[in-house]
Symmetry: C2
Subunit: 161 residues, 2 copies
């Protein structure tokens, strides 16, 4: 098995690499263009938004017709593939949590399937060229995009119980 | 290229199957157990909730430690892989929309990467066995699960602008 380097106290690895147990394939429909590089990236979307840098998504031209019906001012989900990390840490000890925690209780980029999602505003749209301006994102420049969906309050906010 | 059968008026296909252009692999961490089969499934999560059937997620045992830190009464995202549809319809004409619309303006299960996400409540949790009861889901019984994340209002609801 691949060696993944250091672990913090209390962390637990799976004992296998989920990447080697692929059951389906994701394609990359475009890339995120942002100000962020490893080492300078914000910790999360809230911090990215506070930093005030917009970003954009550049779709591969084949996918540009899929933007029909979106417009500036709408909120969307951007789903992206965090392809730089290990995928086998099932219990993690992030610096901001007091105790180790399961990956499914964290929004860490280190996870069995490194899909991240960001709820952002469309600030500009060139549907013909497949370019979407967004208000903020916490992803590195060049991060692969795998999906875009309309944000919908009626389903994306769990109803009071 | 694979033939995918009928298209409705106004629909546009990519001319290639995104599944054949995979750039990364997703693994299945478990399965959804629901009341739904093709032909009886609700149209979306809101309808599933109205129907009043709970559901559960059965994780593969290796992933069960990843649940540490979650508890009954928390809201989570369930990300699942809608593996029964075609992936190449870039403009679609759903019955409930007046005009054809781009896939990225729809929550259709037919999309280049068929990742769906549902914001649901944890109604029971057996972390040792990797079984999570949830209040509702619109996925067929047996649908593969690819991720679980905590729902967080601070990032999952785009802030007023």
């Amino acid at each position: 098995m691949t060696s993944f380097g250091e672990m913090r106290e209390g962390e637990i690895a799976l004992g296998f690499d989920p990447a080697e147990r692929a059951r389906a394939g994701v394609t990359f429909i475009g890339r995120i263009r942002s100000e962020w590089q490893p080492g300078t990236a914000p910790r999360n979307l809230t911090q990215a938004r506070a930093d005030g840098h917009g970003a954009r998504i550049e779709l591969d031209p084949a996918y540009a017709p899929g933007l029909a019906g979106l417009e500036e001012g709408r909120a969307i989900w951007v789903l992206y593939w965090m392809d730089r990390g290990r995928r086998d840490l099932i219990v993690q000890a992030p610096r901001h949590t007091p105790d180790p925690r399961g990956v499914f209780a964290l929004r860490s980029p280190v996870r069995p399937n490194p899909v991240a999602m960001a709820a952002v505003w469309i600030t500009s749209l060139d549907a013909g060229r497949g370019i979407i301006g967004i208000d903020a994102i916490d992803a590195f420049d060049g991060t692969p995009v795998i999906d875009i969906k309309p944000w919908m309050g009626g389903i994306d906010v769990p109803p009071e119980r």
